[in-house]
């Protein structure tokens, strides 16, 4: 580990934290998201030697770590991180704001997809990743992501009764 690595991870975390927190809020809710952001940061420091040199790839790498914390969370592995206290209060206040119901039917349809397909759709449409970026977060080839994405959209069109017509 060199100081250059140290500085690069600090910059990467600083820049990615707002999007990481938003991602985590959508996956686990406002209450637990700060803890998972804290865990993401701790894991990132522990794996500093794996930090990609390219800033965009470093961002994908961080989202991959965040996804791992989400998977652990859904398996019931939870830990309260004291370092998340800095933002917990602020987010708890924000959590009082009602979530939009506009997309509830669509969210339900996404949730009924195979989990791998659902996560790909969320990364592309909620986190605004390209398919190539989403593939990197998921650790799958881009070609596999393209195939899964097409399958997911076919299933969603059928579930939601949406035509292919352009808007």
């Amino acid at each position: 580990m060199t100081r250059a690595d140290d500085a690069r991870l600090t910059v990467a975390l600083t820049e990615a934290s707002p999007r990481l927190l938003a991602y985590l809020q959508r996956r686990v809710g406002h209450d637990d998201a700060p803890d998972l952001l804290g865990e993401t940061m701790v894991v990132a420091w522990r794996r500093l030697g794996d930090l990609p040199g390219d800033p965009d790839r470093a961002r994908m790498w961080l989202f991959g770590i965040a996804r791992g914390t989400v998977l652990n969370h859904t398996r019931g592995e939870r830990r309260r991180w004291a370092l998340a206290d800095r933002i917990r209060g602020q987010v708890a206040t924000d959590a009082a704001a009602p979530a939009s119901d506009e997309g509830i039917e669509v969210r339900d349809a996404i949730a009924r997809l195979d989990p791998d397909l659902a996560e790909l759709v969320r990364l592309v449409h909620w986190e605004r990743f390209s398919l190539v970026e989403a593939a990197e977060v998921l650790g799958i080839p881009a070609s596999t992501a393209r195939g899964r994405y097409a399958k997911a959209k076919d299933e969603l069109r059928a579930a939601l009764g949406v035509s292919v017509a352009s808007p």
């Binding site: 809020q25 940061m41 997309g103 449409h125 969603l156």
Partner: protein
């Protein structure tokens, strides 16, 4: 890829989030996470320790460290302290960017660095600690080497710098506990410049 009605529906289905994080909170949280991830024994001297880690393997490591010294990494300097390494060169450490969730802790840390830092540091104990638990360098070919006197990449000056860093960290920790701070979490950065460092090129 042609967008269609479904794309718009999917885009709009994202739950609203609030991620207006204060920059200071994020920065402090990143520092906290770093301290959590690094073994506790070295946590209080992390920033300086990482620079010295590069110095310890000598050769190319010195050049890497030099490129980064006085690079602006410390944006809010607090003070400097100096010491002499076994080769006779003088080293100066710039400290700063002190942060803590407890303003009293931050103030105490700044006061410590502004005082007689080397007078409070037990360097001999720092050296003994390093000899008992020597650092391990990862070499360019991926192999590792325990850095002890006689090993290929051992550097006596570098070892001494690391010992100073450890001793200063221990002295600061003791100082804060003496002041009554039971959990004196803080982050401080440091940069080190020595009179025998190689020129830093076009920096």
């Amino acid at each position: 890829m042609t967008r269609d009605t479904l794309d718009d529906l999917l885009d709009r289905s994202a739950l609203a989030t609030r991620a207006d994080l204060a920059a200071g909170d994020v920065r402090a949280m990143i520092g906290d996470a770093r301290r959590e991830a690094i073994p506790k024994r070295r946590a209080s001297r992390l920033a300086i320790g990482t620079a010295v880690a590069a110095l310890l393997i000598g050769g190319a490591g010195v050049a890497v460290a030099n490129d980064l010294l006085w690079s602006g990494w410390v944006t809010e300097p607090t003070a400097t302290y100096s010491f002499t390494v076994p080769s006779g060169a003088t080293c100066t450490v710039l400290t700063g960017d002190v942060e803590s969730s407890d303003p009293a802790v931050a103030q105490a840390v700044k006061a410590f660095y502004a005082g007689d830092v080397m007078g409070s540091a037990d360097v001999a104990a720092g050296l003994a600690e390093l000899r008992a638990d020597p650092p391990i360098a990862t070499l360019p070919d991926g192999s590792t080497e325990v850095l002890v006197p006689g090993s290929a990449h051992y550097d006596e000056d570098a070892e001494y710098k690391w010992a100073v860093s450890n001793a200063v960290g221990d002295a600061l920790e003791a100082h804060l506990h003496d002041l009554g701070f039971s959990q004196p979490a803080h982050v401080a950065l440091g940069e080190q410049l020595c009179s025998n460092d190689e020129p830093a090129g076009d920096r």
